[in-house]
């Protein structure tokens, strides 16, 4: 595979505040402003420019976007300015295709459609409830970080709460699955709360299907000593628009594995963020996406190291094929001053299978303390090139089989980490289906 970009592992300079806006050898695409949105916003290009060209080391004063630490969070829609498309957070998103999710409250744009229907399969010990907006748990694990998520927060009618009781020991066989079937194209809000109580362990799957224009908040609260896996599958119909802010709060000595699988939909924007509420905790984030012609699949994650001796690992891999297929991966990792002993590594790999597809990949690592175990990031976008195809074909392997062989191998690194046999099989099938679709 032709490596278009390089890896780089950094050691934190002592005590230096360092905003890593770009890495050496980053692809041109990764560094350019998206031409998707018009250049007319009040924030203009200044914030985005400063960020993308890496010349604002530790900047922050007057540039709200430049450090992830300074980003606005609020439960109130009104606190967020209108999205222009020039913000760092939105510069890759084709706003016109959000079908109003970005303009809730403007010119009567509502968010009052029916939330996806929830179907549950679960082991007996796990509880799944539907609760009102006033439930005390809501808001204990997350807070919106963008206007779309805030709109969903203000507009959801009921929330679904999944609880793994204290010391519950789930296995990969008795998975709790919420099948969320979209209710149609009227813009809707949804709220899900996944709660692993102390020392609980188990797997929760959010399986999004059907057609929806949906803005969703998912709160994931992992109490002390718990070990939770959450897999969010977005396998929507082609016409779906889905923004999903997934807020993870992980307690002391707890572990969480968060898996995002973005396959179907017109525009998917998944923004997982992880925050630490104690020490000695571990966050693993995996992502797998397969963008076809015309699909915009955006993954923006944030790991906020604010406590000491915590670990994070991020591995996202995506394949792209077809005209207008667009994948975006932004990996923000912030190691705050107090997060001594942090150990973090984030990685994104893209495999471009055909002409006309585009991958933007931007790892951002901000380090405010030098007293860490390790901090690294890697980003590479490769092309399945003619030489590889020739080599495989020269061994008798037909083109479609060759393509499948390479993609399967490439994505398998993520699939094998899901560690839920039924899901692994489904993901392998899904990858086959994606390949068959445009082969």
């Amino acid at each position: 595979m032709t490596e278009l970009t390089e890896e780089k592992v950094m050691d934190a300079p002592d005590g230096q505040v360092w905003s890593q806006g770009f890495i050496k050898g980053m692809t041109e695409e990764g560094e350019q402003l998206s031409e998707i949105n018009p250049a007319s916003g009040p924030l203009g290009g200044s914030a985005a420019n400063a960020h993308s060209h890496g010349d604002s080391h530790g900047g922050g004063v007057g540039i709200p976007d430049s450090s992830r630490a300074g980003r606005l969070t609020s439960y109130k829609l009104a606190d967020f300015p209108l999205i222009t498309g020039r913000e760092e957070d939105w510069r890759f998103t084709p706003l016109k295709r959000l079908r109003g999710l970005d303009r809730v409250g403007v010119k009567g744009q509502g968010l009052d459609g029916d939330a996806p229907a929830v179907e549950v399969t679960k082991p007996d010990a796990v509880t799944v409830e539907t609760v009102g907006r006033d439930d005390a748990r809501i808001g204990t694990a997350g807070i919106p970080e963008d206007r779309v998520a805030a709109a969903a927060w203000e507009n959801f009618k009921e929330a679904t709460v999944v609880t793994l009781p204290a010391e519950y020991q789930g296995t990969v066989e008795d998975v709790t699955t919420l099948t969320l079937t979209g209710a149609g194209v009227t813009p809707a809000a949804a709220h899900i709360f996944v709660h692993a109580k102390k020392f609980a362990s188990g797997v929760v799957v959010l399986d999004h299907r059907g057609t929806a224009v949906l803005s969703e908040n998912v709160e994931i609260l992992v109490e002390d000593g718990a070990n939770l896996t959450v897999v969010s599958i977005q396998d929507w119909n082609d016409d779906t628009v889905h923004a999903s802010a997934q807020h993870i709060k992980v307690g002391r000595d707890a572990k969480v594995k968060h898996v995002v699988i973005n396959l179907g939909g017109s525009l998917l924007r998944t923004t997982p963020s992880a925050r630490y509420a104690g020490t000695g905790s571990e966050v693993e984030m995996y992502g797998l996406y397969f963008a076809d012609a015309g699909q915009h699949l955006e993954q923006r994650l944030f790991v906020d190291h604010s406590t000491n001796n915590c670990k994070s690992r991020v591995t996202y891999k995506g394949a792209l094929q077809g005209e207008g297929a667009h994948a975006v991966w932004i990996g923000d990792v912030l190691i705050r001053k107090e997060a001594e002993g942090t150990d973090t590594y984030e990685m994104n790999r893209n495999l471009i299978l055909t002409q006309g597809a585009r991958a933007d990949s931007v790892p951002n690592l901000e380090i405010e303390t030098g007293l860490i175990e390790g901090a690294g990031h890697a980003s590479a976008t490769g092309r399945f090139d003619d030489e590889q195809l020739f080599y495989l074909q020269a061994r008798g392997i037909p083109e479609d089989v060759a393509r499948r062989l390479v993609v399967r191998g490439f994505l398998n690194e993520v699939i094998q980490h899901i560690k839920v046999p039924a899901l692994e099989e489904r993901m392998r099938d899904a990858v086959e289906r994606e390949l068959a679709a445009t082969a």
Binding site: M1, G382, D386, E387, Q388, F390, Y391, L392, Q393, A394, R395, G396, I397, P398, E399, V401, A402, L405, V406, V407, R408, G409, F410, L411, N412, E413
Partner: protein, 255 residues
């Protein structure tokens, strides 16, 4: 017995400077069991011939023909050619991340044979072939050519040759960059394929060294896209002593 017949082959490539003819009327007939060495200076068209036989898209056949037992090879796709019994051991085998050797070999064998090999015998065959080529067992789980040294890549090319059992193999400078030990191991592999499988071999080389280990029946000297001279093994000996200068003096234009 099979015959690979190349007739009056003209091949060109597109470069930034325009279309550049490389092969200018090559004719060559190879039968299974025969070993043909193709020698010549850099840029004489040796590797172009190899890639054209395999069907690399970079090369355009302007005229002439390649047939395998009368079947039109040029009409076949790259994979069809391989399934018809042609094999190219590449000069620079490419890395294929994410695909293990085991998976790759089994997929290739299945494609060539039209059915999956029987698991037990196949595993045994692979192990035996790897061991004969002094390939460590752990390579089976590594990705195709990824992080392999030059010598390891070449040994894996021959491993594929032995396992896929083609009728004809084109070895494109398989000897380049090999030390003597590796050269011997690789040559033994090729000789096994010739002896047990009746392989027809086109051995493309810049040096005569490999011809001490793989004995050619015929030697063809390529100069500027044409066969300048043909003969038996004695021609290789002469080249060893005299080099290619004699031919280049006649055609200095595009060495």
């Amino acid at each position: 017995m099979s015959t690979l017949e190349i007739k009056d082959l003209h091949v060109s490539i597109v470069t930034e400077q325009g279309v550049k003819p490389i092969l200018k009327g090559v004719s060559l007939t190879i039968k299974t069991g025969e070993t043909h060495a193709i020698m010549g200076p850099n840029g004489s068209g040796k590797s172009t011939l190899a890639s054209t036989i395999a069907g690399h898209p970079r090369y355009t056949v302007d005229s002439g023909s390649i047939t395998l037992d009368g079947e039109d090879v040029l009409a076949m796709t790259v994979d069809q050619r391989a399934r018809a019994g042609l094999f190219l051991a590449m000069q620079y085998p490419v890395e294929i991340p994410g695909v293990t050797m085991t998976n790759f070999l089994r997929t290739a064998k299945t494609a060539i044979d039209g059915e999956a090999p029987k698991l037990r015998t196949w595993t045994k065959d692979v192990k035996a072939a790897m061991s004969q080529l002094r390939i460590e067992p752990e390579f089976a789980e590594r990705n195709v050519n990824e992080g392999f040294s030059g010598g390891e890549k070449k040994r894996h090319e021959i491993l594929q040759l032995e396992l896929l059992k083609p009728k004809f193999a084109v070895l494109d400078e398989t000897d380049s960059g090999l030390d003597v030990d590796a050269l011997k191991v690789v040559s033994e592999g090729v000789n096994r394929a010739i002896e047990t499988g009746g392989l027809g071999t086109i051995l493309i080389t810049h040096y005569t060294r490999i011809l001490r280990y793989i004995k050619p029946d015929f030697v063809h000297v390529f100069v500027d896209g044409n066969i300048a001279e043909q003969g038996g093994p004695e021609l290789a000996d002469r080249l060893e002593e005299e080099g290619y200068d004699r031919y280049l003096a006649q055609a200095p234009a595009t060495a």
